[in-house]
């Protein structure tokens, strides 16, 4: 049996450690449970902090990814251009500073960290990469869902969740599988440039499906959401 000090030492090293002894201690110790909750909140912020904006190489593929080295002069101009773009983006990003409480708002906020995911493409994410993201989720995605072009395992509200992008007729649509978040009924949202829906999944929390608002109307998003939900095969 471990004590509080041992528990906190272990959980500080890995807040997502699923060791049964740690879980047993947390269940029996209210102070450590509260400590873990605070730590997971911090961990969520840490995850967001680390996800600084990265350049979008997806549009240009390897041509962009393997571009020639910048000269110092070119880099200066690039830096200037980046500053201008950042300045332009600040207004759009200001809403991030406001407190968000709803699940939909948190899902939308998460989108800001991964702009590279919204690429229209016919290149599927390699199957092993998708398998890697879906590991430990007790689910697999059937081909009926459509072409999956992006897959990441993201920290969301203290849990690792699959963040997928499915290519559809209306363009890229993001799917987040939220087994830890329950919703009582389908809930549509339309905010900050995203249209989407939260769908309950019996026994498995919910899924969030959303598209950029210029991609299509809410009915189209809901249709895609239903198709994706039906294409999830739960294995556990």
């Amino acid at each position: 049996m471990i004590d509080c000090s041992q528990y906190r030492r272990a959980i500080l090293a890995n807040p997502h450690d699923t060791d049964v002894e740690l879980a047993a201690h947390r269940d029996s110790c209210g102070e450590c449970a509260a400590y873990t909750e605070r730590l997971l909140r911090f961990e969520g912020k840490l995850e967001r902090a680390l996800r600084v904006q990265a350049p979008d190489a997806a549009k240009g593929g390897m041509v962009t990814a393997l571009r020639p080295r910048h000269t110092p002069v070119a880099r200066k101009w690039l830096a200037l251009a980046a500053s201008v773009l950042l300045g332009g983006g600040i207004a759009g990003a200001l809403w991030l500073a406001a407190p968000h409480t709803s699940l939909a708002a948190d899902v939308v906020a998460h989108m800001a960290g991964e702009p590279q995911a919204w690429t229209r493409t016919d290149v599927p994410v390699p199957a092993p990469e998708l398998d890697f993201v879906l590991r430990n989720t007790h689910m697999r995605l059937l081909p009926d869902a459509g072409l999956v072009s992006y897959a990441q395992s993201c920290l969301f509200r203290g849990h690792r969740v699959p963040h997928l992008v499915v290519q559809t007729d209306m363009g890229p649509v993001t799917v987040m599988v939220l087994v830890h978040e329950s919703v009582s009924k389908p809930t549509a949202f339309d905010e900050h440039g995203y249209r989407g829906t939260l769908l309950p999944v019996a026994g498995h929390g919910s899924i969030a499906v959303l598209a950029k608002d210029q991609s299509g109307n809410l009915a189209a998003v809901e249709s895609v959401a239903s198709r994706v939900r039906a294409a999830i095969d739960w294995t556990g």
Binding site: V52, G61, M62, L66, R69, A79, P126, F132
Partner: protein
């Protein structure tokens, strides 16, 4: 990664793999170097080397650690090339302020600045774990440490980071 008979499928798969991993590789290199421009150069060199050596990647599921190893080597090489000297952390923070404050979220900006101040021996395993999703064993293999040493660094790193951010650490173990 082996090409098929025509080679196109293998190349396309490798390209897709690079595209999916590149954003996180740039982020990893950024937190390693604390320099956006250097991070992009390091990842560019990494992708070039990876492309040339793609046949040695036999298993796509091992792609992430494979790329991480190349990024770390390229970062080490950049030290050799540029003979970088120790610089003031506050200067680094000021230089990368647009990146650190990009979200206009003050709390996030402070956390990013605190990460800049975290010693590399703590920052690197923490970034590998939280951003790259590496397991303790994977970090240990990459950093040539024992799993116990990795856990100690992660514990100390998180503890120090929380203190730097003004979090209540009174209940943290020693």
């Amino acid at each position: 990664m082996n090409d098929d008979s025509g080679g196109n499928t293998g190349r396309a798969r490798f390209q897709a793999l690079c595209q999916s991993l590149r954003p996180d590789l740039v982020r990893f290199a950024f937190w390693l170097s604390r320099d956006r421009a250097l991070a992009e150069d390091v990842v560019q060199e990494t992708l070039l080397r990876a492309w040339k050596a793609r046949d040695s990647l036999k298993d796509e599921t091992a792609a992430k650690p494979w790329f991480l190893t190349i990024v770390r080597r390229e970062y080490a090489r950049s030290f050799e090339r540029k003979r970088l000297v120790t610089v003031d952390v506050d200067e680094l923070i000021a230089k990368e302020e647009p990146m650190l404050a990009a979200s206009q979220d003050q709390e996030l900006a402070e956390l990013r600045a605190a990460l800049f101040k975290l010693p590399e021996e703590y920052r690197e395993p923490l970034v590998m774990q939280v951003l790259m999703g590496c397991s303790t064993a994977e970090i240990a293999a990459e950093l040539n440490l024992s799993p116990a040493a990795v856990l100690t660094r992660l514990f100390r790193g998180r503890k120090q980071l929380r203190a730097l951010c003004g979090e209540d650490t009174s209940q943290d173990p020693e």
